[in-house]
């Protein structure tokens, strides 16, 4: 097996063992989804038609809750310790490209975290809600065949981009002993820019349009807009191209940065 795929798969399997956390997380996400949707419903009643039919907004919110853990709001806790506690030395003693290894692990981490929460959450929002007569606020199907196809491209793109952003974080740890301040800001920025706090299409256009250009928005906002048809068909290619551009930028930046840091790595103590 390719070493990087093996790392990805090991990290994925390691992540899957947190079953209790996953169930608790999924329940939280369902409650949050219902909460956000009822709040937005109240707003929508006051300003009808602000972002198209409300069922679209509901679908956007549910996708956001189901794939909440795809949002690169934190570093892979394992990578954080690797740098802080000096295990990076052991990793350098393996015949692997360090960036590649980190990227593969971040990918495995995001995938396991997202998968564990997504499945129960999707089940609840797409199947359970219509069954109890709440079909109006349930997760609906993709807007069109084109939306479905574009989503099938955008979602893997989002996963890769999320891993690329995640891989940038531990690099901060080379600079300071505790990067928790920087990470708090990153977490807040990710939740806001990714449209998880409030759907970007519902924000005032000057703000929503600006936030939609950030890399976080191409992880959790853009794929949901594509699914719900909020992105017009003529715009789909542009959105996918921008996602790819952010992915390229993050990878190139991460590689260059890590390469430079490694020249000066100092691992203290026995």
């Amino acid at each position: 097996m390719n070493p990087y795929l093996a790392l990805l798969s090991a990290r994925f399997r390691q992540g899957l063992q947190y079953r209790a956390a996953a169930w608790a997380g999924a329940a939280t996400q369902v409650c949050f989804g219902l909460f956000i949707i009822s709040a937005l419903e109240a707003f929508a009643a006051a300003r009808p038609g602000a972002a198209g039919p409300f069922s679209r907004v509901a679908s956007y919110v549910w996708l956001g809750q189901a794939l909440f853990r795809l949002l690169p709001w934190n570093p892979d806790p394992e990578l954080r310790d690797v740098v802080r506690l000096g295990d990076v030395g052991l990793q350098l003693a393996k015949p692997l490209d360090l960036y590649g290894a980190w990227f593969a692990k971040a990918l495995g981490y995001r995938l396991s975290a997202a998968t564990l929460r997504a499945l129960p959450c999707l089940l609840a929002s797409a199947v359970l809600l219509p069954l109890v007569g709440l079909g109006g606020i349930a997760l609906g199907p993709p807007d069109s065949v084109l939306s479905a196809l574009a989503f099938a491209v955008a979602l893997p793109g989002a996963v890769l981009l999320s891993a690329a952003i995640t891989t940038l974080y531990p690099i901060f740890y080379f600079r300071s002993v505790s990067a928790s301040g920087a990470m708090t800001i990153a977490a807040a920025a990710a939740s806001l820019c990714g449209g998880v706090l409030a759907p970007l299409p519902l924000l005032p256009p000057w703000m929503g349009d600006a936030l939609a250009l950030t890399p976080f928005a191409f992880v959790t906002d853009a794929p949901f807009r594509i699914w719900t048809g909020m992105v017009p068909p003529s715009d789909i290619l542009r959105v996918l191209a921008m996602q790819a551009a952010w992915l390229a930028i993050c990878v190139v930046l991460g590689r260059a940065w890590l390469g430079r840091r490694l020249l000066g790595v100092e691992i203290a103590g026995g």
Partner: protein, 334 residues
């Protein structure tokens, strides 16, 4: 074959004063100081050799290992390991080496041991057949079978160290770097690790560089020791010549029939020195090159009524401590 020449490594450490004022001042400008961890270390390790690398804490042992393992680059100096410069050609270099840091783990904490081994196989791009063959050999020496399905976090330290060694040797490296592999281990585990390291060095011909604070490790394993202190090579040679260099002491301890006959404990021969009298037990020190042990025994038995007699060689620990330049703690029994 590893060749190390004039290795120098400098670290920058920021210092700040203690207490609140120190912490506040530290927020502004920090005093930066350059510390020389290695100050011109040179040695050679011929292929297949087993070398013990010793020295007090902070002497630069780990720093040297890290440079040799390609993890760190030196400030200056040269290293050739199997024809490669470790830090310039890291990936090609580390493919041929195995590394075990006693205080860290390279196993996957939450996954069963088996998974860590298959990951090592994948990381070194080993064909499955080769992984199995190499594992069988290691399993035979280390008894890993019962551990395979246990998550690493549930292993005892001794079990984990066996797994660490196996993981490092699975890809059949030419060279093995062991940084304090016996740290914290109980006696049987230490012996198991020692036996295994000696065996792998003998059977696979793996060049081994071992750092340790356990002098019994060195005495049991290393044909040669390199002693460094304050970043400099202080001694390089067989352990027996370290004994000579350090002016090894020997002690003659006798138990006399009565406490009264110990008298003033006058040494039986010239060149011997009274160390202590405790009841009917008398201890004399002597330099084995100045006084023949047999002569000392003969003189003592001729003069005194001896019930029991022991000749003690200075323990390696004490010898090394003297070479380190620290006075060993007296524990009263000697």
């Amino acid at each position: 074959m590893i060749k190390v020449r004039d290795l120098v490594k400098e670290f920058t450490v920021s210092k700040r004063g203690s207490g609140l004022s120190g912490a506040l001042l530290g927020l502004g400008r920090r005093r930066r100081e350059t510390v020389r961890a290695l100050d011109g270390v040179s040695f050679d390790v011929p292929g297949g050799d087993l070398v013990g690398f010793i020295g007090p804490n902070g002497a630069g042992k780990s720093t040297t290992i890290k440079i040799l393992a390609g993890i760190m680059r030196p400030t200056s100096g040269e290293v050739q390991a199997n024809g490669r410069v470790p830090w310039k050609d890291r990936i090609a270099h580390v493919r041929r080496i195995g590394v075990v840091f006693g205080q860290r783990t390279q196993l996957w904490w939450d996954l069963p041991v088996r998974e860590s081994f298959s990951l090592v196989g994948a990381m070194y791009r080993m064909p499955a057949v080769e992984v199995r063959a190499s594992f069988r050999e290691l399993d035979e020496a280390l008894g890993l079978g019962p551990l395979l399905d246990v998550p690493v976090r549930q292993l005892s330290l001794g079990q984990r160290m066996r797994c660490e060694l196996a993981a490092a040797l699975l890809p059949r490296p030419d060279t093995l770097f062991l940084d304090e592999p016996t740290i914290g281990l109980d006696a049987p585990s230490k012996l198991a690790v020692r036996d295994f390291v000696a065996r792998i060095n003998r059977e696979r011909g793996v060049t081994t560089l071992l750092t340790t604070h356990d002098m019994d490790d060195v005495a049991a394993l290393a044909r040669r020791v390199v002693l460094i202190r304050s970043g400099q090579t202080l001694f390089d040679g067989p352990l027996s010549s370290l004994r000579e260099v350090a002016r090894e002491k020997r002690s003659l301890v006798v138990d006399l029939s009565t406490a009264a006959s110990a008298q003033d404990g006058a040494p039986p021969l010239e060149g011997m020195r009274l160390d202590s009298i405790e009841g009917n037990r008398v201890r004399w020190d002597f330099d084995p090159r100045a006084v023949r042990t047999a002569d000392a025994i003969a003189a003592a038995t001729a003069r005194l009524d001896i019930v029991d007699l022991v000749v003690e060689t200075e323990p390696v620990e004490r010898l090394i401590a003297r070479v380190y330049g620290e006075s060993p703690a007296r524990d009263g029994s000697r």
